[in-house]
């Protein structure tokens, strides 16, 4: 299934934040299925990405940096974490 327009905007935003946290990924190809492992992103970088998303959307996302590498493997996983939080904020 093709992602909706909202989802595509979010994907672009997550990718942009990843590039700002890790500037050497400026030209790297990053899609929904890209694994953070292959991008060389560790728990601290991922935590920084999540916190930037929290700030931009003024929401709180429950997670622990200690197991973030197990629970978040791809850009898609970040969206799965973020979307319900955004939904519950708008309702």
């Amino acid at each position: 299934m093709e992602p909706s327009l909202d989802a595509r905007v979010l994907i672009d935003e997550v990718v942009e934040i990843i590039r700002s946290v890790s500037p050497e990924l400026a030209t790297a190809e990053i899609s929904l299925d890209t694994e953070f492992d292959t991008l060389g992103l560790g728990s601290l970088e991922l935590t920084e990405v999540i916190m930037e998303l929290e700030d931009r959307h003024d929401v709180e996302i429950e997670f622990s940096s200690a197991d973030v590498e197990d629970s978040l493997k791809t850009v898609g996983d970040v969206l799965k974490l973020l979307e319900p939080v955004l939904k519950s904020k708008s309702t």
Binding site: S43, T47, F63, S64, A66
Partner: protein, 405 residues
């Protein structure tokens, strides 16, 4: 080889469990939770609600001229050192003062003074900070302050390696004594990290628990910070015997290693090498150890990796050893942790009691050893090790054993 043997003749401490080592040990044995709701009103807007807090620092007769130069982390260290030195029965005079030293570990620095300084500059718009800002903040300040209060004029310095700072301090002190630079070393650690900015920074790291510290329990959800200090008096056996000192236990040795891996994520190999190095330095075999005071921070990663490391070093026997994380009671006091945990080890040997890991609700199959769940355990303990594994991958393990002449 009596010149190389080192004994402990005094120990002092202060943390959420009590204002002296005796009270701290009594609370540990009972499984008291020293973690409480943050009491400072300026911390109300934090997400973090609990910490191991020192309610009031006992007056040990310091003058205002002394305390005005001290951040809270120095105050705590000086109190713990004063208690330990008092128990040792040592007296400093012109002849021996240059043979007495101190090494105090701290993970961060004088956090309260940092915050006050920025408050003045950035919030109040002042053009200067307090004249005492620099001397209060310095990570070497607690060691310097201890030397001034007690008159120690030998090797005196601070050490820092995040959460293993106190154990690195013990090993540095052992080295000063073994190398012949000192006869007596006060060693330990201190931390007072419960300030607004410091707690906010820990919140950002996303490793803090929602409330209780539950090391090794399946439902553990991160660490709980604490403040405190601990200091032990280490001296050569010869020095202690000559003056007829009461010997609490023998310092067997220490081992250090670095993961050279990740700044926050632990490896298995680093802790394994540190424990093995400690046993080798102590001339102890794995089967000699009956109690392990674990690093046990209650993060998912540490507790699993530490359990694996213990299994790797001790093999099948790992299941027979009493293990506990007293951080469940005093919280993670960062640079002070190893020193508060030495209070547990020294008393565990003396009284034959392994203190518990409290808030232990449910065994985690990923850990799987005997963590002395919730209730202290009577057992003969002749030798114990205390693990400290830090951010930065800097590991330090210390061993103590029953003193036998």
């Amino acid at each position: 080889m009596s010149a190389n043997r080192i004994v402990i003749t005094g120990i002092g401490g202060i943390c959420g469990l009590g204002n002296n080592a005796k009270d701290i040990w009594a609370a540990m044995k009972k499984g008291v939770d020293g973690v409480s709701v943050l009491s400072d009103p300026s911390l109300e807007q934090l997400k973090t609600k609990t910490a191991g807090q020192v309610s009031d620092i006992p007056d040990i007769g310091l003058k205002n001229n002394d305390t005005i130069t001290m951040d809270r982390f120095s105050r705590l260290a000086v109190n713990a050192a004063h208690e330990a030195f008092g128990q040792s029965g040592l007296a400093v005079n012109e002849e021996n003062s240059s043979r007495f030293g101190a090494v105090i570990g701290t993970a961060i620095c004088g956090a309260e003074a940092v915050e006050e300084g920025y408050q003045m500059l950035l919030v109040e718009g002042k053009k200067r900070t307090s004249v005492f800002t620099v001397p209060r903040i310095m990570p070497g300040a607690p060691a310097g302050q201890v030397s001034m209060v007690l008159g120690l004029q030998g090797p005196v310095f601070g050490v820092t390696s995040a959460c293993s700072s106190a154990n690195h301090a013990f090993i540095s002190a052992i080295d000063q004594i073994r190398s012949g630079r000192a006869d007596v070393m006060l060693a330990g650690g201190t931390e007072a990290p419960l300030t607004f900015g410091s707690l906010r920074a820990w919140e950002s790291l996303r490793v803090l628990s929602k409330g209780l510290c539950r090391p090794f329990s399946a439902n553990r959800d991160g660490l709980v910070l604490g403040e405190g200090a601990g200091v032990a008096v280490l001296e050569t056996l010869e020095h202690a015997t000559k003056r007829g000192a009461n010997i609490l236990c023998e310092v067997a040795g220490g081992g250090m290693s670095a993961d050279a891996g990740n700044i926050v994520a632990p490896t298995l190999d680093g802790p394994v090498r540190a424990i093995r190095a400690c046993l080798a330095d102590s001339d102890l075999n794995p089967e000699d150890i009956q109690y392990i005071n674990a690093h046990g921070t209650a993060t998912k990663a540490n507790d699993k990796t530490e359990s694996d490391a213990i299994r790797e070093v001790f093999g099948k026997m790992a299941e027979e050893i009493a293990i506990s994380s007293t951080k469940s009671m005093h919280g993670h006091c960062l640079g002070a942790s190893g020193a508060l945990e030495l209070i547990a080890c020294v008393n565990a040997i003396e009284e034959g009691i392994a203190p518990p890991t409290i808030n232990f609700d449910e065994a985690d199959p990923e850990c799987g050893l005997d963590y002395t769940a919730n209730v202290a355990n009577d057992r003969k303990i002749d030798a114990a090790i205390s693990n400290s594994f830090a951010f930065g991958g800097t590991n330090a393990v210390v061993a103590v054993k029953r003193f036998e002449a």
